[in-house]
Symmetry: C2
Subunit: 339 residues, 2 copies
């Protein structure tokens, strides 16, 4: 009798977990791909074009990602604002760039982890893939401030880079396109599997009961309407649907031409405060409540916000092991830093 009771409870809770997995999948949530082939399939279904993946590009791209000489001053690298030790972001409200300039639209640096799986790049979605994205901050005056021509001159002055570019890209060698392509190939490896992925892949015990409760709320309250797909975000959605965003006085960003904005990924969200395009909110539960009010037109209670936060923390993933690269040595031909 006791055995039967246990068995019944086990079946019930097991069924409920299975239901939740199905429910999560049916509401559009997807696990991370397991390999680069899986990445390609997702990108293809997103309509995102990318160049052929190549491990040599990954190694080259890693060096470029960490190389501050891609900035005009020589002291800002991609990793400055998309710090791989800080959830792939910088932990400040507004990105700070060349000459300590704030981003003129008060935009917050999004995480680079899993960014490759976003359907679009930048807050206004103006780039379709990470290679196009990488060209933006390098050239942008308040970021790295390096004109494309200067970036190519700098990299071309470093024989070790020149050799690698020739080996990988053949005749085209060092070009701004190839610099961006190598960086994008490195970023393509910055994927962070989490317990939530294990859960979606069928491991019912990968999430605790509290996390499952939070996931159910996340689905039921409608968060999943925008935060869906493999990245729980990364697609364009209308900006300020339901109400006035109480921090919209911070910065002049109004989304793209149609007032649309890129929904940020929720992967590793517990590591990437402050939140929103203008980094106006530091507390994750505050961000959850604010989104309820602004995007869904509902009041999310403190208790429910805490529960959703508990689920969101299960999205913190395992980071790839990165060996800090030794960068090619500057030569007499290397253009000097400019301040």
């Amino acid at each position: 009798m006791r055995f039967l009771l246990f068995a019944a409870i086990f079946v019930a809770s097991s069924l409920s977990a299975m239901n939740l997995i199905d429910e999560a999948k049916n509401s559009g949530l997807k696990p991370l791909p397991k390999d680069q082939k899986g990445v390609e399939e997702i990108l293809k279904s997103n309509g995102v074009k990318v160049s052929q993946f190549d491990l040599r590009k990954v190694e080259l791209g890693k060096k470029l990602y960490f190389d501050p000489r891609l900035s005009k001053s020589g002291i800002i690298s991609c990793n400055t604002c998309h710090n791989l030790g800080l959830g792939g972001a910088d932990g400040v409200s507004t990105a700070i760039g060349n000459k300590w300039k704030e981003n003129p639209h008060h935009l917050n640096s999004p995480t680079v982890y899993n960014a490759f799986l976003n359907n679009v790049q930048f807050w206004d979605g103006r780039a379709k893939n990470l290679a196009d994205q990488a060209k933006g901050p390098i050239q942008s005056e308040p970021e790295m401030a390096t004109p494309a021509k200067l970036a190519v001159e700098k990299i071309s002055s470093l024989p070790e880079y020149v050799k690698e570019f020739k080996q990988i890209y053949g005749k085209s060698g060092v070009s701004f396109d190839n610099i961006a392509d190598a960086i994008a190939n490195f970023e393509r490896t910055l994927i962070t599997p989490s317990r939530f992925d294990a859960f979606l892949n069928g491991d019912e015990k990968a999430l605790s009961n509290d996390e499952k409760k939070g996931l159910r709320l996340f689905i039921d309250k409608g968060c999943v309407a925008c935060h869906n797909g493999v990245n729980l975000g990364g697609n364009m959605q209308p900006f300020e649907v339901a109400g006035k965003y109480k921090f919209s006085n911070l910065g002049d960003f109004k989304g793209d031409a149609n007032g649309m904005v890129k929904t940020p990924t929720l992967r590793n969200v517990a590591e990437t405060a402050p939140y929103f395009h203008n980094g106006a909110i530091w507390k994750l539960t505050d961000a959850i409540k604010e989104m309820g009010s602004v995007q869904l037109g509902i009041n999310i209670s403190n208790k429910d916000a805490k529960s959703i936060e508990t689920f969101l923390k299960s999205l913190t993933g395992v980071k790839p092991k990165i060996i800090y690269p030794q960068l090619p040595v500057s030569t007499e031909k290397t253009p000097l830093p400019q301040f």
Copy 2:
């Protein structure tokens, strides 16, 4: 006959190489220590006091070294100016810090590699060891600009750090002294054995003939008078001995109270342009000639400068493999970045 001739040549060149090893050692040049015990012996003989070496401190110190939250703004880490991928320095003339301020004395960031073996720290030698040194840039307004109290508050707000500090330092836990001590323990592992060390340790073939010629000039011209010991530098020497430094109008640095300045290490010097306390010279051969004129009162020909440069390049060492650290996640108690 032919065999004898070969044998005679071999013996002669072998003897000459052996003589050069002895000569180098007699002139005060020393190989890197092979382990932390050897490091301790050197420090003891230098009169430098350090805390007990501990691998747990090394791991903790590595995180702190890469953690930009030790700066007031949250975007500058030790690694910003002492970049482990760029020979342990920043590749710019004058260190740039908080709010993009230049170092007020136009001082250049020295390499962190092997810095532990310097007899003194800072250009004016005001710190005897790296733990004392580390406290300087963290607090200094034009560098990381974090008062000691704020640094302790920030680190104390991160539970993962708090736990590690307690495990390692016991009751004293997170303190500014312990933060500096952990960073110093990490820096103590940043040692870069080079072919020159193999040569000093008896491997005659570790240097090419051209490098040996350069080493002989380095000794004969008198460079070794200041650039000696295990770091080929790292001790205090009179500033501008023989002549007027043609770049002395850059910055107001005049050395310590007695007009003495720390001789920079020549290890990895080929990777750490620009040169001198004010980063005024970018070309290594120019730096060699300038030092001949200013410090030794001699004219070093272009050919000899090139030969000495060839030797100095053999001092480029193998860098330790550093896995980029995942940093503890900020909490609601973490003091916000200040701009």
